[in-house]
């Protein structure tokens, strides 16, 4: 009987997957998710570790620069522990991370956690501001476009969002800098100089353009989705029913359509949040913003492995978190439907 049962599970009901079985209880499910997340981070960092190794050049050569002689490089490699076997280096790094020690930057000799800490606050602020602005703005624009579908506003929106989507962050950023920072208007600082000990929100001016760059990309993408999901909802039977009940259009829009239109948009929003975190690298580079994106670029060009690893770990974790959130919100929703 048991054999029959498992047979049935395997072949006839692939959808009733092992995942589902395992996730029968709530703690079990959370455990499974966390296990997957950890496995994923492990794989990512392992890959990053070996990928970085595969890249031409190492930190010793970078540090010695043009005047590196083989002997000097060897000496420095030894000093930095680069001459040990890959596996032992990796194990060293991994055991450090597991015990909460991210290691020491090879290039600067400072603890990675210290390097990261300062910049994490900056990046987090930047992404947070962007995400906090993206959501309501997308909602507003999406709703208006859906409500006035095919109107001038809607068509203008569709076209401009297509243009904005066509342009990568760096182009938008470049144009914004030119327009508001350097050439036409001099309204905002074109570069985000935030002194090391300062909190980024002490310099709201410096945040404007980078946040705007992220926001434009995010809003133009997300509001399209919201628009579509709103149009779907506005065509739904329950909205028709609400009309037939004689409700006012404001009430229909806010009480009836909004919660339902939001449902499909929420996972998308959390994906956008994930993208925003990813997009931070480019934007930070563009605006000279002292965040982890800049740190990543810097450490890649220095081949400063512990720093690269730490930054990737952070970005991947955040990214994965939002992806997971999107997934959970999504399955939660389809679960509701059932």
């Amino acid at each position: 009987m048991v054999a029959e049962l498992t047979g049935a599970t395997r072949s006839a009901g692939p959808r009733r997957s092992l995942t589902r079985r395992r996730s029968a209880t709530v703690p079990g499910r959370i455990g499974w998710i966390v296990a997957q997340a950890i496995a994923m981070l492990f794989v990512v960092t392992t890959l990053v570790f070996f990928a970085t190794q595969a890249m031409p050049g190492d930190v010793a050569k970078v540090m010695l620069g043009m005047s590196a002689t083989p002997e000097r490089v060897e000496a420095l490699r030894h000093q930095l522990g680069l001459d040990r076997s890959l596996l032992s280096q990796y194990w060293h790094w991994l055991s450090g991370v597991l015990s909460g020690d991210l290691g020491t930057s090879l290039a600067s000799g400072r603890p990675v956690s210290q390097l990261l800490g300062e910049r994490l606050v900056n990046s987090a602020t930047l992404s947070l501001f962007a995400v906090v602005l993206i959501l309501p703005l997308s909602l507003l624009i999406g709703i208006l476009a859906a409500q006035f579908k095919d109107s001038l506003f809607d068509r203008t929106f569709l076209w401009s969002s297509m243009v904005a989507n066509a342009l990568a962050d760096f182009v938008v950023g470049t144009l914004l800098v030119a327009l508001f920072g350097t050439t036409v208007f001099h309204w905002f600082p074109p570069v985000s100089l935030i002194p090391a000990e300062h909190m980024p929100w002490w310099h709201p001016q410096a945040l404007v353009l980078p946040v705007a760059t992220l926001v434009i990309g995010g809003v133009m993408y997300l509001s399209r989705l919201i628009r579509v999901s709103f149009i779907d909802v506005l065509n739904s039977e329950y909205v028709e029913m609400a009309r037939l009940k004689g409700l006012g259009s404001a009430r229909i829009l806010l009480t009836h359509a909004l919660p339902n239109a939001l449902a499909p948009a929420v996972p998308a929003a959390s994906l956008v949040a994930a993208f925003t975190v990813g997009g931070v690298v480019v934007v930070e580079y563009l605006f000279g913003y002292p965040g982890i994106g800049g740190l990543l670029i810097d450490s890649i060009s220095n081949r400063d492995l512990p720093v690269i690893q730490a930054v990737v770990l952070v970005i991947a974790a955040v990214y994965y978190f939002f992806n997971l959130l999107a997934d959970l919100l999504h399955t939660g929703k389809s679960g509701e439907r059932r």
């Binding site: 692939p14 959808r15 342009l167 990568a168 990813g278 690298v281 890649i300 990737v312 994965y320």
Partner: protein, 252 residues
Amino acid sequence: MAFALAGPLLAPHDPAKSIALPYATPGDGLPLGADQLGRDVLSRVLAGGFHLAWMAPVAAIAAVALGALVGIAAAFYGGITDTVLMRVMDVLLAFPALLFTLLFVSVIGPKPWLLVVLTAIGMTPGVARVIRGAARPLNDREYVMWSRTVGIPARTILARCFLPNVSSPLLVELGMRLMWSIGILAAISFLGYGIQPPAADWGLMISENRTGLQNMPWAVLAPVACIVLFTIGGNLIAEGSARVIARTEGRG
């Protein structure tokens, strides 16, 4: 798109040749002026889409094909296959694109095919997620259940039931990915790891000339406009075909 492909033939000057002073303003024989090395902007703009015109669609198609394969397989087999495939996609997503690009470009060199592959791989996870989402409900469709009950081989079910029925999200994805692959390729060029100068390329032009924006806005704005037009064109084509396909679907 035809414009991008045919552009090089129309160019009045050699796009890689300096014929005037840097940032010369538009004038005789230089309708859009000259760029930072004194090359004809018009010729460069005309020539600059060529690479993009084949690389972006190829990358987008490859990404969509691969992503569709993964997404459909994950949705169909479910269970462990699903988990493993999707986690692999997550790993790809979480792997910093910059590092990824830098790694391969520095090992292999900035070969156009490599850029296409990198762009395609970078976009695959996103496609896979979407397609998996679109394909999962198909498991509950009666025609898929029927195929399972009579024992039609998985391969046939995937090809006949799944693939055609995710074709509209697939085309929408294609449109979007085309858009994004242009963005990504332009960004790689912008960072200097893409098409190598002195070849003309829109992304490269933006990056080369962006500091001269005030004196010679054309050198930046023209390629920007081209990227936008190209993208929108590609997107409209994809959306149009999605609509045509959706029509055959009726309300089924």
